[in-house]
Amino acid sequence: MSMATTAAPRLAFLREITLDRIITAILFVSLAAFFFVVLVIPFGLLLSTAFRQMDLMTYQFQDGYSFHQFLRFFSDAYYLRILFDTVVLALETTFVTLVLAYPLALYMSRAGVRERQILRLLSVSPILISIVVMNFGWVIVMAPQGLVNNTLMGLGLIDEPLPLLYSHVVVVLGLVHVHLPFMILAIDNGLGSIQPEVLKAAESLGASRWKTLRNVIWPLSINGVVSGSIVVFALTASSFVTPMLLGGAWTKTLATVAYQQILFTLDSPFGAAICLILLSVTATFSIGLTRLAIRLQPHRAAPAAPAPRP
């Protein structure tokens, strides 16, 4: 009797263990373990490597930690130029993608259910193809003996092939092609959350289509635009397949330089430092844009309804 009464409180926690909780715990732990292995450990290695120095004669890490690699990067005009070019390339791609994606997403959001499904499928279809295949498509089109040059020469408009391939424009074109689906999906998602009656209300209050777009649709789609821009900017800034395939040896971005440093020069500390710089560029852009979005949409920051006042 007395045993039972004293034991009960100590064992009470056992009753709290239900199958539901066990499953939740297992799922949580396995997810945490997964992210630890694929994200936390590699990032820790990257972080520690970036502050080391490599002896390029012996390929051994030198002793001690320092900001050497970062000072090296920021004191060299060559690397600063690459940083600048990378940011410009990512901004250009994000802007072109946005300009192309918005009207399409707008059309999709107003289309019928069936048409919308078809358009959505078509717009994401590029994701199903490998980036390499998409990029080589542009090589075929833009090469000296490619579709565009052959056609123009066949028509007698030019005498010799134009240097289309390995130009800045083709890199932007290739990047836009690859990243357009992400922007379309993000904006379509934002536009889809606007109630159709809200647009009717604007119309009944005297707003023409253009004014409705300007005063209602655009402000309500800013979230979609921002998330699409963050995704496209981050992916473009860190892309290296497209700049390498379509930009040739002349186009250098942070990602291609980091790749070269780590795999060819074997200076992994410098490569790691470049990776961290790239990461801080995309992080700065994301945070800046998110803050801008909050400033532009005060209603999202406003707290939900407080208790009604008497």
């Binding site: 809200v198 009717k200 604007a202 009944s204 005297g206 939900a304 309804a305």
Partner: protein
């Protein structure tokens, strides 16, 4: 363009309190005319050749079950539905080909459809902003609209910070701030819970009485229609069954559909008989019920009789009334303010409601034998359609 903008700020008398319902329109005085409007969705006819007219300041309720075409009809009037056949005239001008944004019609949507990114004040300002009125110039109109719906403490709030009733009032303020020619209210109370709906119905009546705007109200709730409108148009399967003042539609329905739709009725099929003494009766099975004919019906006409639940009298003793039957109480439900009875009578199962003071202190038992009666005048007998 400039004169348009001025017209909006100028006082259109929209905010003048309305004292009494305006007279019904003649063809010369009609403010809004809907003429032979028909609307098909594929092979489904949503609106079937509907015509009616409203005089300035009049309030009409479009009442009908869901799917009767009432929402389609206001979409046509507002200009959202571009494929309708027929004409809509405002002040004698045909606006059928005009886009919604040039019709000057205020709409209050069922889900309110407030702009989520704008405060109450900016929602109300929106229509005037679209008319290029500066915020400073629009301020009196904004203030007046917000005051009318009593949302002054909430003018800086965003829609998601408002309760359902407040959102509803903000939507009304937004629609009336432009002093529209016509105000359309689509199921204005259906998104509110039952208790709030009662309160908002009174509030809405007060708000509408402060305005002189010609108003159309769409609803499936007869209480809403009867309480708020000067006239009620009962719609069924896309066509208008009857347009009449609430009391006329209720007391004197013209079709079996209207009689069955308004109020709580017991309906029975029977045959009309004229008696030698000049009175008329309807034969339902073995029972004859005396009634006062409202339309010409020769003997032998197949007809349906509607007996309103609140017009039936239930008593333990004999009643002095035109029609009296013995019945057995199948269910006696006491609801505090009223008794509800389900009775087994010679003509079938009857629903009756009693809220008379003398009756409320009585207790009734299931299975009890009672007398049930009704006057000849309270019976509504309408002939079946030919064929």
């Amino acid at each position: 363009m400039a004169s348009d903008a001025n017209a909006v700020v100028s006082f259109k008398d929209a905010f003048k309190p309305r004292t009494s319902p305006p007279p019904e329109p003649t063809t010369r005085t009609a403010h809004l005319e809907v003429i032979n409007v028909t609307m098909d969705y594929g092979s489904f006819r949503a609106v079937d050749n509907v015509s009616f007219a409203l005089s300035r300041g009049e309030r009409l309720a479009l009442l009908g079950p869901s799917g009767c075409g009432k929402t389609t009809l206001i979409n046509v009037i507002a200009g959202f539905n571009k494929h309708a056949v027929g004409h809509v005239r405002i002040n004698g001008t045909d606006v059928s080909r005009r886009p919604a944004y040039r019709r000057d019609i205020g709409v209050v949507f069922q889900n309110y459809a407030l702009f989520p990114h704008l405060t109450v004040e900016d929602n109300v300002y929106f229509g005037l902003k679209m008319r290029r009125v500066s915020k400073a110039k629009a301020k009196p109109a904004i203030d007046r609209a917000i005051e009318l719906v009593r949302l002054e403490p909430f003018r800086g709030r965003y829609p998601h910070q408002l309760s359902g009733g407040q959102q509803q009032r903000a939507a009304i303020a937004r629609a009336i701030a432009i002093e529209p020619e016509i105000l359309l209210l689509d199921e204005p109370l259906s998104n509110l819970d039952a208790k709030l709906r009662e309160q908002m119905r009174t509030d809405l009546l007060e708000i509408l009485d402060e305005l002189s705007i010609t108003t159309i109200l769409v609803t499936h709730d007869q209480a809403e229609a009867l309480a708020l409108a000067d006239r009620v148009a009962v719609l069924n399967a896309g066509h208008v069954e009857q347009i009449a003042r609430p009391i006329d539609a209720y007391e004197n329905p013209k079709t079996q559909f209207v009689a069955g739709f308004l109020g709580e009725s017991n309906a029975f099929d029977g045959t009309v008989q004229h008696r030698p003494d000049g009175t008329a009766a309807i034969q339902i099975g073995p029972q004859e019920l005396t009634f006062a004919p409202r339309v010409e019906m020769p003997s032998g006409t197949k007809a349906r009789v509607f007996i309103r639940a609140e017009r039936l009298r239930v008593s333990r003793s004999r009643l002095a009334t035109d029609n009296l039957m013995e019945a057995r109480l199948k269910h006696a439900i006491y609801l505090g303010g009223e008794h509800r009875f389900v009775l087994e009578s010679p003509i079938g199962v009857l629903m009756a409601v009693s809220s008379s003071e003398s009756d409320l202190s009585n207790t009734y038992k299931t299975g009890e034998k009672v007398m049930v009666g009704c006057s000849a005048a309270s019976l509504i007998v309408l002939p079946d359609d030919e064929g």
